[in-house]
Amino acid sequence: MLISKRTFIKSFGALLGGLLLFGCRKQGEKSLSRVRPVSIPDIKKQIKEAMKNQKPLDSLVAIPVPSSLKAFPNATNRFGMAIDLDLCDGCGECVLACNLENNIPLVNEYQASKNNYMHWIELRDQIPVTCFHCGDAPCEKVCPTGAAVHSPDGVSAMVYARCAGTRFCGVNCPIKIRKFNYVDALDEGLQFISNPEVPVREQGVIEKCSLCLHRIQNARLKAKTIGKEFLGENVTTACAEACPKGAILFGNWLDPNSLLYKKARGRGVYTLSSIAPFDPSVVYFKGVR
């Protein structure tokens, strides 16, 4: 015997402990050099696939025009969108614009076969469906880490750094529009980075429409630096910008000068029946009231 059992176990334990500590060390930032280039035709292909197998849509019900949030009665802003169903023909341009604006990754073949795409806007029965930014959002109530929060501006925001990936919010969302990052898109070569303004979401994080929060933030910071009050002027979302029919409107439901507020006058305001009880900020326009 060269060494006793006692010494062997001791030294082996010390070695294991040391290696464990070594493995736990903080590593440098992920390098982007490994990324296989994703091209825009790749993204278009997945959008086409998603549009071929569209999920069914709930029935539309009429609701009143969105007004102040219950949680923030004194706020001057409540940002939202309206999708004009009389103009929309379901072309899918908004989905592509959203993908490019928000660095939305592709999904792998397994997820694609299950019809789980990362697209923040989905077409269901030719109607664009995205997060409705409910004023009384059911997803925010079940988040155990406080990652899903409502801003006083009416945006149902995701703090990705806080998200632990329990997916409770995804389950509690009546329309299941929250998307989970099952794989590390950077590692798998599924990530297309086109907009440095938007952080890339990690594996194990839920993501969804942010109402182009980065655009709202940038515009607000600019306005405040000049010393102006910010009511959402000169901001629009990527999907609204891209819509060839001009069917998507972004604006401030509480600002009488906002285009959204003006256009809502006299129009029929609708939402999905499953969303109606939760005071959505994103609505559909259809016909006249």
Binding site: S11, A14, L21, F22, E29, S151, P152, A161, H214, T225
Partner: protein, 170 residues
């Protein structure tokens, strides 16, 4: 013999740790050491230049920006004082690249910080960048969210500001 094995293991572990410290990409600082010896105190406190004189975005822009060599030369091509020029400084300026001061923004991608908004709210630069010697050395200290929050919650003499997540995080 037993002690020898322990000692070997200990050395092995130390080697691993040191290898990690010396050969892994550094996290703490992405600021490149510049060839120009620079002291903030000599420019700011002693001759009263505002921060904006070199960091052109500090009061209006999201990023404060670093000065280029031509910004330095705007002043340094002239004899600035009655005494003779400092030979080492002159040669350092002469040999410097067009952009001698390079920093990588260490703000994580999911945080937005706008210098201009804070300047507008009368927050002085020193409120966050107090340790100017550390910046001169090229080892700027890390700011943590707690320090942002202390001001935003109104604990440091400033008016309380936005504390909802979506104001600063995206």
């Amino acid at each position: 013999m037993k002690k020898g094995i322990f000692f070997l293991l200990f050395v092995f572990m130390l080697a691993l740790i040191f290898a990690d410290i010396f050969f892994s990409p550094s996290l703490a600082s992405n600021t490149k050491k510049t060839s120009i010896p620079f002291l903030h105190a000599l420019h700011g406190d002693s001759i009263g230049l505002s921060c904006e004189a070199c960091h052109s975005g500090a009061y209006t822009n999201r990023e404060a920006f670093m000065p280029s060599k031509s910004d330095c030369m705007d002043c340094h091509r002239l004899p600035l004082t009655e005494s003779e020029g400092i030979a080492s400084l002159d040669s350092a300026l002469k040999n410097a690249s067009e952009h001698p001061f390079q920093t990588k923004n260490r703000l994580p991608a999911h945080v937005v910080f706008h210098h201009g908004v804070h300047a507008k709210a009368n927050v002085s630069c020193e409120e966050c960048h107090s340790n100017e010697l550390a910046w001169d050395r090229g080892t700027p200290p890390l700011l943590l969210m707690n320090e942002c929050l202390a001001c935003h919650q109104g604990k440091r003499g400033f008016e309380a500001s936005a504390t909802d997540c979506a104001s600063c995080h995206r």
